[in-house]
């Protein structure tokens, strides 16, 4: 690949910064999408060796359909649609265990963030709707109050997902210990939140 002329911040010790030979191009599909991904994540998925250290260390790989290494492989093969529609990108919590293990220092969580947001923009079906609903409830609480109101988030999440009676015990235990405040804590300047969430591409 070409060395980046603009040296921007690269989370992860991204080797594209220090200059490396051109990575192998396998896929022909989705060229501009993949360019955008490299630009936005400031990391080079094409350097992936498929060593699978990332998937091996991922704490939630068992709940995922693919695991991080296979998502990287799909990108290398230019299989954009499959990279956008899988449970892996939704279950990923961004814990950075994978890129800590990656011999090529690829910022995998940034790739996951990009794919998740692209999947939403393109209206790709989400295999883990509960997780998306949870994120939406958190962000709508932040948009409204500037802070998270956990009781409301949990209640609205339950309504959205129709899981009223699942996990009831956890909620009751938290209420009994006063861990869920009844009233939200709010910021003084709600206008600031309106500004942040106005420019929304993927709204809460």
């Amino acid at each position: 690949m070409q060395k980046n002329s603009k040296k921007k911040y690269a989370p992860g010790r991204d080797r594209s910064e220090v200059g490396q030979p051109e990575a192998l191009r396998l896929g022909r599909e989705g060229g501009s999408f993949l360019e955008e991904l490299r630009e936005a994540t400031r990391t080079e998925f094409r350097h992936c060796l498929q060593c699978r250290s990332c998937s091996g260390g991922c704490p939630f790989v068992e709940a995922m359909d693919l695991g991080p290494s296979k998502v990287l492989r799909l990108l290398q093969l230019g299989l954009r649609d499959q990279a956008l529609q899988n449970s892996t990108i939704w279950i990923c919590v961004g814990c950075h265990t994978c890129d800590g293990n990656c011999p090529m220092a690829i910022n995998i969580p940034a790739v996951m963030d990009f794919l998740r947001q692209k999947a939403l923009q393109r209206g790709v079906p989400v295999p883990e709707p509960d997780i998306l609903n949870f994120h939406r409830e958190v962000l709508s609480s932040v948009a409204k109050y500037g802070r998270t109101h956990k009781l409301e988030i949990m209640l609205r999440y339950k309504v959205r997902t129709g899981t009223w009676f699942e996990d009831l015990d956890a909620g009751i235990r938290m209420l009994a210990k006063r861990k869920l405040d009844l009233l939200p804590s709010k910021i003084q300047d709600p206008e600031a939140m309106r500004r942040i969430f106005a420019s929304t591409e993927v709204g809460p």
Binding site: K8, Y9, A10, P11, G12, R13, P59, F60, A63, I91, V93, G94, C95, H96, T97, D99, G100, A105, N107, D113, Q117, L120, E128, D130, I131, L132, N133, F134, H135, R136, V138, L139, V142, G146, R147, T148, H149, K150, M154, Y157, D167, A170, M174, K177, R178, K179, L180, D181, S185, I187, Q188, A192, M193, R195, I196, F197, T200, E201, V202, G203
Partner: protein, 285 residues
């Protein structure tokens, strides 16, 4: 407790979890800091840093929510951040603003101030490891004598490797606990991820992992787990289903217990009551 003649003020970012479900973490942190001579002054009108949800589905909010906090923060000096997740969001945003002039000028026009490039954003454990705790230790003595702990740092303080903290915190929990007479177990999960939002959204995924962690802690001889992150604390307390469940402490609770040596009213807020353990060890009357 001998006190400093005067307190030093320290800007402080609590974050949503400490302000709500982990108030016991907040209170014990404030208490401990006062005991070692610091008075925390909460960042005025701080907002949520975006947590996992912003970077998951809303890139703009993931940038702007921490950015507003940075705009409210002091230009230089230190900002103490209690929650490792908030710390990571704030630090990442500060780093981005420093390296990207375009973002930096957008920041300026949105918030009317320049980004606080010289502000030192510090997680609590780094702050702690840079303090001179001499008088604290001599006052506290072996206040935690015989308590066998599994120190749990979680994933946020160690990663990503590209963003090292400004003051090293290497094994600070182990060091401080041992000075206070407690034992730290070696176990394999000290920097593993607790599941964060999955603990709320997908308990079926998180519960087996949390149980496996607690099993390992018990196997290593621990009577309790000590957390550096209130989100980890939440996941462990709420999602452990093995029997028996061992108590989970916020590290700050043990610090302020060591200094005060009296029952702390925040122990009432635990889902697994830690008082019987402390009594059986003679650490509480």
């Amino acid at each position: 407790m001998t006190r400093e003649p005067s307190y030093q003020e320290l800007a402080f970012f609590p974050g949503c979890t400490l302000a709500t479900s982990a108030k016991e973490n907040y209170q014990s942190l404030v208490t401990f800091c006062e005991q070692v001579g610091y008075r925390l002054s909460e960042l005025p009108d701080w907002n949520c840093c975006g947590s996992s949800s912003a970077h998951s589905i809303h890139g703009e909010a993931a940038l702007q929510l921490p950015a507003r906090n940075l705009a409210l923060a002091p230009k230089r000096g230190t900002l103490l951040v209690a929650c490792p997740s908030c710390y990571l969001r704030l630090r990442q945003t500060q780093t981005l603003l420093l390296r990207d002039p375009e973002l930096s000028s957008r920041f300026q026009s949105t918030w009317g101030v320049s980004p606080p490039h010289e502000l030192e954003i510090l997680p609590f454990l780094s702050f702690l490891s840079s303090l001179d705790l001499h008088s604290f230790f001599s006052e506290a003595g072996k206040a935690l004598h015989g308590l066998r702990c599994a120190p749990y740092y979680g994933c946020m303080l160690a990663r990503p490797a590209a963003m090292p903290v400004s003051r090293p915190m290497g094994q600070v929990m182990e060091k401080v606990l041992s000075r206070l007479g407690a034992d730290s177990c070696r176990w394999g999960h000290a920097t593993k991820c607790c599941g964060t939002f999955l603990a709320a959204a997908k308990p079926d995924i998180v519960t087996p992992r949390i149980n496996a962690m607690m099993d390992e802690a018990v196997r290593a001889g621990a009577e309790c787990i000590v957390t550096a992150c209130s989100m980890c604390h939440f996941s462990l307390e709420l999602r452990a289903t093995r029997t028996p469940r061992i108590p989970v402490f916020h590290f700050s609770e043990l610090l302020s217990l060591a200094a005060a040596r009296e029952p702390q009213n925040w122990f009432k807020r635990h889902l697994v009551d830690p008082v019987p353990l402390l009594r059986s060890k003679g650490l509480l009357s």
